[in-house]
Symmetry: C2
């Protein structure tokens, strides 16, 4: 077959790894041919191991004017990448992207554009790095009626929390180490406050349910308030703390959440260490399937991009073989090297979660009557206490203690916590974490 | 689009679950239409919830004469299922099968037949039940250069071994319970002696490497000799015991193995409980990806079958949309509803494993000099002892003790063990288990 002519937008960690795989696997040469590399200040990116036939450019127009069959977009961010992806689709090129932010923001429009232009938009690399989640869910579990997705989608947060769990350290030094080791960026907000995982969750919901949830509708809670004491109290409950992303069908809508939560220590989530990702998909017929592996990194993410490219060449071959048998290929048709995909995401609605138990942690300037006052506020909302934990040995001016409450509505808890937070005895704002015991323990 | 007309061969646990998913998910009706169900003694299989338009037959010729677009084969076994799959492919029907034995025995021929007849043979359901391994590996990791596959592929063996590990029970009562609970068949040989996992390993090697290994070339060891004492000794080493299936590229060939092995207790394998499956794929670029979930069961396996059917309808649609635009559809072309797939498996060679450490367990009628004699036989082959374990409290007429040896060639160990086994002091034959520490611990 004629190789798909590929234009690569972005030659950073992922983009250069894509090029490297294509160079190092010569058996792919008759399927994919890298013709153009675009990057800002492209001169400083140039590497000798890329074939001399490749055109390096810092002008995106030059790349698009060459009418590539496929454009790989590994620049990231909504602008200007989104506009370039749109132009590529509009001129009939297939697009492979790793850009979760763009998909979260504009997924429905871009997928629709792919359909109307009889081409494809693929994004295995947007979630889970090298873990083949998108293929697994979209194709491998297509036969199921999926009910929910739960996972650890952000390696930075997992690195921080799993290390804190093991070492009783505070967050600040661990975050500092994460920066030094390259697990966290200088500004780690997107990772630890939940926007990165939230964007991935939007993509997974699109794949699992063909519904688009707006990132702004998904509650995201930061892991910043989690302290060493929380891991000690969680351990007493048989739990640990992880940044969990989840979306579950509930009535006509979807309950969704990103943030720190208590999970069983022996569960797949509790056992997930370092920067690894782990995702569990729940189906009506097949039950739970779990995927795990390196969630990020140039080579792993590049594998996902190249896998998408190979899927395109498969479709391209079907297409051109049909054509060869049946009709002459003219210039107009040559341009549309890859047949379209019908996938589109309809709008989806985020609804409140079902009642669930919560872990409540207070840090107070100790004096008599605090517990009675908190308990009264909870009782006024019909919320039952399940346990109360107070370890000895803390400073009385900043005394952390914990209450767990039985399953309750999030709104009722919010009302109670608002009342509680108004009291004068707090040394830190109260912290509420959902307790997610749905996942069975592994041990 | 015109729905794919489906003929179902076999209406047992999996076949009836396939029909149930198609009936319960009406949104699939315009993509797949069940037209025929074949089973022996079909009258007793008939169920009221299948649409009355479906023809029930115990005559496979009747089903094939109806020229289905797709045949689902969920009968199992090489004969007669293999002949029917061949006939279906020869008349241009796509085939979806869950039949690992058939694929292990005749995969290359059947895949070639699919290619020459411009159709597809799909088999997501043959390995890992509802875990979307085949899609994940074949498509999701297509961009990587895969190096190895390791996993727990047989739920029955894992149920038995994980329960023994937790309870210190002997194998006999656990196997009895497994039978009663439906985890083991009346004759559990295929599960516990490794043939079932071996056939799945052949399929995985085909997917990962596009090479066909002969099942008869893959060393398979039974879990039958594993005793309660082995779990106690393994625990002393930080390990537990699981039936592991593995295949790894080595030079021009593949090292392959199915059988009980020591694995770290905190690894994905050591933590895998009950009848669950778990498989880790290692790639040059992407590192490790792990898949886990229910490895068997009618509904989970049926999800895999229906996912394959939906993948076929996608290809079918590409195809018919092309046709609609370009050429009139005549009768001959109508029959070939699904374009072909180029996948074929070339012959692969099984080679010896690399040097690795082993756990050696002896059960002896105790007398002085036994350890010296065993150590001498090992030393004669250049094999270094790593540790020696002997717990107190065992019967001196059947005393189990353990030696672990440093990484050594399997052939050298075999020579030493042959000499050792010839001695008169054994109460049971010596047992040698590979120690697989390659997998990183989870905890």
């Amino acid at each position: 077959m004629t190789p798909l002519r590929l234009g690569l937008l972005g030659f950073g960690t992922v983009g250069s790894s894509v090029a490297r795989i294509l160079v190092e696997r010569p058996e792919l040469a008759d399927r994919i041919q890298l013709t153009h590399v675009f990057n800002r200040d492209v001169a400083r990116k140039r590497v000798p191991w890329v074939p001399s036939s490749v055109t390096w450019t810092d002008n995106v127009d030059e790349l698009l004017a060459a009418q590539p069959d496929v454009v790989v977009e590994v620049i990231g961010g909504v602008d200007p990448a989104g506009g370039w992806v749109r132009r590529a689709l509009q001129q009939g090129a297939a697009v492979v992207t790793a850009n979760k932010q763009l998909l979260a923001a504009q997924g429905p429009e871009l997928l629709h554009l792919a359909v109307t232009n009889h081409t494809q938009l693929r994004f295995e690399a947007a979630v889970g790095g090298g873990v083949p989640l998108i293929h697994g869910v979209r194709e491998g579990l297509a036969g199921d009626n999926l009910k929910g997705v739960q996972g650890i989608l952000n390696g930075t947060s997992n690195y921080i929390l799993s290390r804190m769990a093991g070492s009783d350290e505070a967050m600040a030094p661990v975050l500092e180490d994460a920066r030094r080791l390259g697990y966290a960026e200088a500004d780690p907000s997107a990772d630890i406050d939940g926007d990165d995982a939230g964007a991935k969750l939007v993509v997974l919901a699109g794949i699992a349910f063909r519904r688009h949830l707006r990132l702004s509708d998904i509650p995201r809670r930061s892991i910043r308030p989690i302290a060493a004491a929380d891991f000690r109290y969680a351990r007493t409950l048989g739990c640990t703390i992880r940044q969990i992303s989840m979306v579950e069908a509930r009535g006509d809508g979807f309950h969704a959440f990103v943030g720190p939560a208590l999970v069983l220590r022996g569960s797949n989530f509790g056992l997930n260490m370092g920067a690894n990702n782990v995702v569990t998909i729940v189906g009506q017929y097949g039950g739970k399937s779990t995927f795990s592996g390196a969630g990020a990194g140039g080579p792993a993410t590049a594998v996902a991009v190249v896998s998408d490219l190979l899927a395109l060449t498969q479709r391209h071959r079907d297409h051109t073989e049909e054509r060869r048998q049946d009709v002459p290929v003219d210039g107009e048709e040559r341009r549309q090297g890859v047949p379209g995909d019908s996938e589109e995401w309809l709008p989806g609605t985020v609804v409140p979660p079902p009642p669930r138990p919560y872990y409540l942690r207070f840090v107070v300037k100790d004096r008599p009557g605090i517990v009675a006052s908190i308990a009264a506020s909870l009782a006024a909302q019909g919320i039952n206490l399940d346990s109360m934990l107070q370890e000895p040995g803390y400073d009385k001016d900043a005394l952390p203690f914990v209450m767990t409450v039985e399953a309750c509505e999030e709104a009722a808890l919010g009302t109670a916590l608002q009342e509680i937070a108004a009291a004068e005895y707090h040394a830190e704002p109260p912290l509420a974490l959902p307790i997610l015991l749905g996942e069975d323990p592994r041990t």
